[in-house]
């Protein structure tokens, strides 16, 4: 119950954040936290919900969300082998990678749909994603209830 409430509050705040700062994904830190502390089915369900929100509210045909969250999953999985996923340095690096991924994925989707690609605006959004992601992760990680953390030894 607490987990459901926490994730609903996170999603609502994320939607408001995305409304205030267009072009930035506020759910990405949630996926990182969910992957670390929650069971895989929870992460899958949350990712599907967030993907539907991103795709539904956005202007492109369905497809970006799958690539975006798959990229994040890959980066997290690979990064976990090399670095401590609980460190801010790792999350800052992940933010940079996500910023770059946002540019390339959006460019790819715009080309596939033959849409105009506003380079300056997207670059600004990438920069915002780079800056916002670690800050959001830090805030959410610290606000995530201790009771909901599924530690590996107890899992």
């Amino acid at each position: 119950m607490l987990a459901a409430l926490w994730w609903i509050a996170f999603t609502v705040c994320g939607i408001w954040g995305q409304m205030l700062v267009p072009g930035v994904d506020f759910f990405a830190p949630g996926m990182t936290i969910s992957l670390r502390w929650q069971r895989p089915p929870v992460t899958i369900a949350l990712t599907l919900i967030w993907m539907a929100i991103q795709e539904g509210a956005g202007g492109l045909a369905f497809g970006y969300g799958i690539l975006w969250y798959a990229t994040l999953f890959l980066l997290l999985t690979v990064g976990r082998w090399l670095l401590d996923p609980g460190s801010l340095q790792f999350q800052a690096l992940l933010g940079v990678a996500l910023g770059l991924a946002h540019f390339f994925l959006l460019y790819l989707m715009a080309v596939l749909e033959m849409r105009a690609f506003p380079v300056k605006r997207v670059l600004l959004e990438c920069l915002l994603q780079i800056l916002i992601y670690p800050a959001l992760w830090y805030a959410a990680e610290n606000l995530f209830p201790e009771r909901l953390k599924r530690h590996e030894e107890s899992a």
């Binding site: 409304m19 072009g23 539907a52 369905f62 969300g65």
Partner: protein
């Protein structure tokens, strides 16, 4: 993990993704599904906050506006008188035009119904690459794709994607927006292209020999089959004629202050285009 397995997994994943993507481009099922689930849930979350914001702002404005209310009232009364006079003249002309059209056997234009909608957000999310706004009307209230959207100043755009209770409006400034227009005074025809947020609109295909003046208002011509005829779209800001070309180089500015839009009007066709066809048979 075995690198070979990883490679097979990645290739299989890519194959599945591309199959899904192309299937969706043809059928649109996934896009529709995400519109009905994602777009509507975004609307559900944003609408109460927007409502509170608007109510709060109204409450404050009501007190601020009391200052200088008398002067404003006098100015408005004078404006109403001028508008009444203009309205009287225009009504006469409209009735005369209707009589002439009837005499010449013109078919009646399709009727349009207006419906107000509140703007609940501008672009939302990382995939919001298009210049759009979200409004609190969807398919439940008859707002479907390509429904014209306007404000009291002029054309705003058209509905690009409609959920059940929320719709995304493609603004006239988006590079994929095209609106068929004519000059209000000189009737030079062209097509208004969006060039992105904060950029001037470009009017293409205005014939070299046409007459179009700086400051002239461009209105919809109705030739695109989306907008009814006669809605103001933009004001011409520059007209250039270059030798050796068939068309003039025309730029225009939208009449609508898009970043400050709070309410819009949706124009819904009373008769479907299929019904309208019967008029010509």
């Amino acid at each position: 993990m075995n690198p070979k397995k990883v490679a097979i997994f990645l290739v299989a994943g890519l194959f599945v993704y591309l199959s899904l993507y192309t299937w969706n481009l043809r059928s649109g099922h996934l896009t529709r599904l995400s519109t009905y689930s994602g777009l509507d849930s975004v609307g559900t979350v944003l609408r109460p906050g927007r409502w509170l914001g608007v109510k709060g702002a109204d409450f404050i404005e009501r007190y601020v506006d009391l200052v200088g209310l008398k002067q404003q009232n006098e100015a408005l009364e004078a404006e109403v008188k001028a508008l009444r006079l203009e309205n009287m003249t225009l009504r006469e002309r409209a009735e005369a035009t209707a009589r002439v059209e009837k005499l010449l056997g013109f078919p009646d234009p399709p009727e349009w119904k207006r419906e107000g909608a509140r703007v609940i957000a501008q672009r939302v999310g990382p995939t919001a690459i298009l210049e759009t706004i979200l409004v609190d009307r969807g398919k439940h209230t008859g707002a479907v794709e390509d429904t014209p959207v306007l404000s009291v100043d002029g054309v705003v755009g058209r509905i690009y994607r409609a959920g059940l209770t929320v719709a995304t409006v493609l603004l006239l400034t988006d590079p994929s927006s095209r609106i068929a227009v004519v000059g209000r005074d000189n009737r030079a025809a062209g097509v208004v292209y969006g060039m992105g947020a904060g950029e001037k609109l470009v009017v293409k295909y205005v014939g070299f020999t046409s007459t179009l003046e700086q400051g002239e208002i461009l209105v919809t011509s109705g030739m695109d089959g989306v907008f009814p005829k006669g809605l103001p779209v933009a004001r011409v800001t520059s007209v250039k004629r270059e030798e050796g070309t068939l068309f003039m180089d025309v730029q225009a500015a939208p009449l609508v202050d898009i970043p400050h839009l709070e309410e819009v009007l949706l124009l819904k066709r009373a008769a479907q285009p299929e019904d309208a066809r019967a008029l010509w048979e």
